[in-house]
């Protein structure tokens, strides 16, 4: 096994392994934020429903007065 180990690469492979572990972690953090954004946008859309419905109702009422 030792004969198969290219020791001039062991430092690079270690560094590479560290970069990838950190990249995976950071990518997970990013994914969590995207999930938060999805929820925020959803509740915001819901929060606008009442106001929107009121404007539609008002519009219908006003068009009957024309």
């Amino acid at each position: 096994v030792a004969a198969n180990t290219p020791s001039m690469y062991s430092q690079e492979l270690f560094q590479l392994s560290q970069y990838l572990q950190e990249a995976l972690h950071r990518e997970q953090m990013l994914e969590q934020k995207l999930a938060t954004l999805q929820r925020l946008l959803a509740v915001t859309q819901e929060a606008s429903d009442t106001s929107w419905q009121a404007l539609i109702d008002e519009d219908r009422l006003l068009s009957r007065l024309e």
């Binding site: 590479l16 990838l20 995976l24 999805q38 946008l41 929107w52």
Partner: protein, 58 residues
């Protein structure tokens, strides 16, 4: 050390797969926020139309 290169390849592949999934999730977020924009723009238009009519009748 061959197990290290294998682990590195696996991690790189996992990272790529997750980036694809989350790029797709970001596409959905764009659709969501575009829908929200349409809602807010429609509310602005409906509000302005109502104000205009009230003004005409005053």
């Amino acid at each position: 050390m061959s197990c290290t290169i294998e682990k590195i390849l696996t991690d790189a592949r996992t990272l790529l797969d997750r980036l694809r999934d989350h790029d797709s999730a970001a596409e959905s977020l764009i659709d969501q926020s575009a829908a929200l924009h349409r809602r807010v723009a429609a509310m602005r238009q409906a509000g302005a139309a109502g104000a205009e009519q009230a003004h005409d009748e005053a």
